[in-house]
Amino acid sequence: MSDLKLTMGNIEFDNPIWVASGTFGYGTEAPELVDVNRLGAIVTKSITRQPREGNPPPRIVETPSGMINSIGLANIGVERYIKEMLPIYESLTTKIIMNIAGTDIQEYIEILEMVESVSSVIAGYEINISCPNVKKGGMEFGVDCDMTAKLTDALRSRTDRLIIMKLSPNVSDIVSIGQASQDAGADAVSAINTVVGMSISAKTGTSDIYTTYGGLSGPAIKPVGLAAVHKLYQKLNIPIIGIGGIVNGQDVAEYMLAGAQAVQVGTANFRNPGISEDILSQLETFISESKWPSANDMVGQVKTHS
């Protein structure tokens, strides 16, 4: 087991299998089906300054080997998060990463400062920059290097905890956004968030998602996630956390070979809330049967032809 440990910033994680934001609730939802203390980390759902009801239904729909969601960041808001969730996390041995979302830099800062102002065990923050930036006419933060750098910098100066910038794949050049995050002091980047998609029922002639567009996730996007991680690994020297379509231990190995130090399991949790534990066992088996002495040794070691 010890060969799965990894360090990011000054935090040691038991293993590289984490669960992704928005796909595992607050980490407390399915206690009968999963032992969260076996996971490397739980990334909790995106928290905003104010509670958010989220979007009207329909919010999700299945697509070939994937799904689209448009939950609309439904969450309890940072105040209830601090009051209700942080105390629960004290009793867990798994690491907690709090995912933060905002529509302007000020909102991100406020949330982070509120959490920093209380004592808690959280290991760090994952910053969701795929939210429409109201100041910039609704374009996502995540498509703009300058905004990403400013945001990273503002948060960096306010915490010593881990800062992980979560990158959007819906950009012309994900590497430059990753670079901007690194240069502004992020400890790590995670990639990818969902891919913009749409689903239509031909029979009824209606959009399957209330907000028309939503985020595509699941095995369908694994190739997109792998490409993003591999490209980032070629240029960055901070750790990369791989996300997108992971459903088994072999997928994890692929992401680690591409350059991911850790991974997050998303959509697969919906099929089986305990799947991340299975994935962890599969990864252990994979490594023990492979030539790799440890998980860390695999990172970025994919052999390319050219």
């Binding site: 609730g25 089906l33 759902k45 239904p57 799904m67 439904a74 095995p219 919906f270």
Partner: protein, 263 residues
Amino acid sequence: MHIEKAVIISNSEVAHQIWEMKFEAPMIAKASKGAGEFINILAMENWQNPLRRPMSIASSDGTTLSIIYKIFGEVTTILSNKRPGDYIEILGPLGNTFSHWQNDHHPILVGGGVGLAPILNLQHECKSAGVDHSIIIGARSANEHFIDHEPDRKIYLTTDDGTAGESGTVMGPLERLVADNTKPYIYACGPEPMLVAIREFSLAQNIPAQLSVESYMGCGVGLCQGCVIPRQNGEIQHHSYHQKYSLVCLDGPVYEAEDIQFV
């Protein structure tokens, strides 16, 4: 709540495109608390269809469960190709139950289409408890019915095209039965237009009604926040942490008619 590999005992078409499947699922059957609950079914190992499919429990006898399902799309087709001895993987029991009638109420059970499944389960509970009740079953046409029209035994069938039972929707017999009984209590499950009509009727007549609703589910256990239905009024239940929406998988699928809205 368990995940269980359930061996199929039988699987056959009981009416046009409507199938019944029985399988062994001792853990989930034992944990089941009553009619209204559902299970979340995984019919194949590949990830072409990443999500499970929710299906109401139609009967439960302590070790086996049954479902009644309609062939709709990819996964229900896969289900219908299963043979006895094959297995499915199920997650459950999930959701709440119809809450029980007071003794002096006359339960009127209304099932439309495959919404029949939880209603048959509830009928069984009524029978076991010796509670006098009526049941109305609606369908488009005779070939979708697999139960007989027996008004003497308080079993009323309707068809849109008049090919079996009464012609028209379930609203005909329902309005009559409500008028005929002093303390009617409606329990309904079926297509949304039917539930909308029953909800309006029950609110207008001030008759208690519990509706089992459907919504598109990602997980069935509260992780995805996908399955919401708008609430009619503030804090009805604590799940989903929200005022405006309720998570059908946790708070539902059974709601008091006055607590929810259809969009």
